[in-house]
Symmetry: C2
């Protein structure tokens, strides 16, 4: 059945971030839709952010394009040069290699929901605000030492 | 600017279908968002179907995963085994190689809008309802002869 049945897909709020940086995404609930739906060309995640939660730490990928579609609620998009609101139907693209650290933060009083597309990166991911770097498949301090 | 500004992107209702099969998509208006946004990992199209229009002829791809997100209006999803309605926020996945011919048809009195993701296929695309086959980069009759 092509139609996605969200209720049949488990949601998780786990993160691989080191403990120092994990709190921001504790209220992020993710359903990975791609594998369940039999897709392998790209990944698709359905994400609910509880009030106060962030989609990730602010970051940019060297080698992963990302695209998101807002489904419900209001999110604040924080990027290098400012902040803006995303509402249902709004879309945003983050091309690989563009050093514009970005994330969504739910600064409203209600849940917000979006769906985001990407492909598994192999290159580095940069976090401009904190002492974090994803490189060689693990999280590191900015000096390259592992957590 | 990561946010997609639809008004800045031209919409087109052109099709590569042979003339015999082009009428169904005359009311399909497409904006290709990926290149404009600087993405290359996957394609993203924003599609408006006028009342009566179809997203495509009913088809399935040998080697292209597809995923769609409904944004506005109501579309009828027609697949091998039946029909169902898709409303804003509904999502559907069509894994490559699954011989479940599918398309959306706008059987309502108002426009409907969705966004669809995929990667350029190189393999064949099959059209179960009509004398059409996409193979070797061109449209053919089912017997392999070119249009």
């Amino acid at each position: 059945m092509p139609r996605i049945d969200l209720d049949s897909i488990a949601e998780r709020n786990s993160t691989g971030y080191p403990a120092d940086h994990a709190g921001a995404v504790a209220g992020r609930w993710v359903r990975r839709l791609g594998p369940m739906a039999g897709l392998s060309d790209f990944g698709v995640s359905h994400v609910v952010l509880k009030p106060g939660a962030a989609s990730s730490q602010r970051h940019w990928h060297e080698d992963e394009d990302e695209f998101l579609v807002m489904l419900a609620g209001i999110a604040t998009l924080v990027e290098e040069d400012g902040r803006s609101l995303l509402r249902p139907g709004d879309m945003a693209a983050f091309p690989k290699g563009e050093p514009n650290g970005h994330h969504l933060v739910n600064e409203s009083d209600s849940d917000c929901t979006f769906v985001v597309f990407g492909r598994p990166p192999t290159g580095d991911c940069h976090y401009p605000d904190i002492d974090l770097l994803w490189s060689g498949g693990i999280y590191r301090h900015k000096d390259g030492s592992s957590y």
